[in-house]
């Protein structure tokens, strides 16, 4: 599996062949607070880069989760739908949101690496 890459909308992506796994970053969960509802996309749905693909709600508000990469949804993570609090405890591991069959791998290269993302977060405090 590849290194993780990050979007400005606080999603992470890792790539394994042409399958990408997408989730929201630890920083995102810290901004959101306690997560109490998650909606993930159905398999077969095609998504465009930067389009809305999932929903995450905290006690405070609902937020959209965008796909940082284009392709076709392979799987949504049911375990976080059943237990949304898992997103807070392991956002960048077991609590991924969806897996996607990537259309264009070059999109992955345009995303930020960890160091750039950390810098981006530091420069854009919420």
């Amino acid at each position: 599996m590849s290194e993780k890459k990050f979007s400005k909308k606080h999603e992470w992506v890792s790539l394994d062949g042409d399958t990408a796994t997408v989730g929201i970053t630890k920083h995102a969960t810290e901004m959101l607070g306690d997560i109490v509802f998650v909606e993930v996309p159905e398999p077969g749905k095609s998504v465009e880069k930067d389009s809305q693909a999932a929903v995450v709600e905290s006690t405070k508000a609902a937020s959209d989760v965008y796909s940082p990469i284009s392709g076709e949804i392979l799987e949504g993570n049911k375990s976080i739908v059943d237990d949304p609090g898992n997103v807070n405890s392991d956002p960048e591991g077991a609590s991924w949101f969806f897996k996607i069959k990537v259309k264009d791998k070059s999109e992955f290269d345009t995303l930020m690496n960890k160091a750039d993302y950390d810098k981006f977060c530091a420069e854009n405090p919420s």
Binding site: G33, D34, V36, F37, T59, K60, A61, A62, P84, G85
Partner: protein, 362 residues
């Protein structure tokens, strides 16, 4: 943007701040909303509610008569140190603000919502005679202590408070200064609200913390009050909603419901006599879907019948909870309704309120 006397204290506790009614207020601390909510239900939490208005009114004999013009309570019924929940009513019978009024020595103390307090003061002043005095106290803080351990914690700091009954208050001494304590709150738990000078607020709150109470932000205050089925001004209540529509008939005293004599009486009387076309209800979504404020409500046959005014996830009931206004004919408990969230309709039922059972000390 204003700050309360406890701002630095909150900051040191790791609060996240939010702008609320012109104040920088803590929305949550390090524990986060869910944990803060549960702490309040299981042990005790303290809340800085100093942004709320504390209006003291004193005056001659005509004071009560004048206040009755705008507040639909039977003032003769209010005993010394007794608190009542009510409203300021406008000419159409809509709610200018909801409030807690307590009779104290020489007058009344009224707790007002932060966003409304300046306008409220003007509206009340219009009803008063020139010999009445009123002051929106800027030198006082207000701290709420809520939860089952509240009595033990507060009694250890202010001996005697355990004698207070729900919706009653009294003066006590704290570090040599007079403070006013009422047994009341906004969470569905037993608890107290303590009014004390700004200069004493931090000392006092630190003691609450030392005795084991945890700081609770506005985020959990909202989930707590929603589980308790309590209205929030600007959401369930506004200038265009009557107390009868809000299902708060009980907060208009019996004599006043019969005799009227307050602003907007014609409309309220009509609501009482003929019923209301829309009414506030509790709403329980069937799944985990959260219906936020503004969510449209449909009947099972697909007609639009209302709108959600508050909605969140209730940490203690462990389901989503909401309140809203729906056409009265659909308001029966357990009636099936639909909520439109992100373009899809989701099953829900009309629920009895509160979602979470109260445990007040009577």
């Amino acid at each position: 943007m204003e700050k309360t006397a406890l701002y630095n204290f909150h900051k040191n506790l790791g609060a996240k701040f939010v702008a609320f009614a012109g104040y920088q207020m803590p929305i949550q601390y390090k524990d986060g909303i869910v944990k803060e909510h549960i702490t309040t239900r299981q042990t005790a939490g303290f809340f800085d509610v100093s942004h709320m208005g504390q209006l003291f009114i004193s005056g001659s004999k005509s004071l009560e008569q004048n206040l009755e013009k705008i507040i639909p309570l039977d003032f003769k019924e209010i005993k010394i140190n007794q608190s009542k929940y009510s409203f300021l009513i406008n000419d159409k019978g809509g709610v200018i603000d909801d409030l807690i009024i307590t009779r104290v020595d020489g007058g009344f103390n009224i707790i007002l919502n932060a966003a409304c307090k300046d306008n409220d003061t003007k509206e009340i002043a219009k009803c008063l005679d020139s010999d009445s005095k009123y002051e929106l106290k800027k030198d006082l803080s207000l701290v709420a202590l809520q939860g089952p351990k509240s009595e033990t914690i507060l009694e250890a700091i202010i001996p005697g408070v355990k004698q207070l009954k729900f919706m009653n208050g009294d003066y006590f001494k704290f570090q040599g200064k007079k403070i006013y304590v009422t047994r009341s709150g906004y969470t569905g738990e037993d608890g107290f609200e303590i009014s004390l000078s700004n200069t004493n607020a931090e000392n006092f709150t630190k003691l609450l913390s030392n005795k084991g109470a945890k700081p609770i932000g506005l985020g959990a205050r909202d989930t707590l009050r929603l589980e308790a089925g309590l209205c929030l001004y600007g959401h369930e209540l506004n200038q265009d909603i009557s107390p009868i529509q809000a299902n708060l008939k009980w907060a208009i005293s019996k004599r006043r419901r019969e005799e009227g004599g307050f602003k907007g009486w014609e409309n309220i009387q009509n609501d009482l006599k003929n019923g209301v076309s829309k009414i506030r209800v509790g709403i329980k979504p069937s799944g985990r879907i959260i219906a936020r404020e503004g969510t449209k409500i449909f009947s099972s046959s697909g007609d639009e019948i209302g709108v959600v005014t508050s909605g969140t996830f209730g940490p203690s009931v462990n389901t989503p909870v909401a309140m809203g206004y729906i056409q009265s004919k659909f308001s029966e408990i357990d009636n099936k309704i639909l909520l439109e969230v992100r373009g899809k309709k989701h099953d829900a039922v009309v629920s009895k309120l509160p979602f979470y059972k109260k445990s007040y000390v009577k």
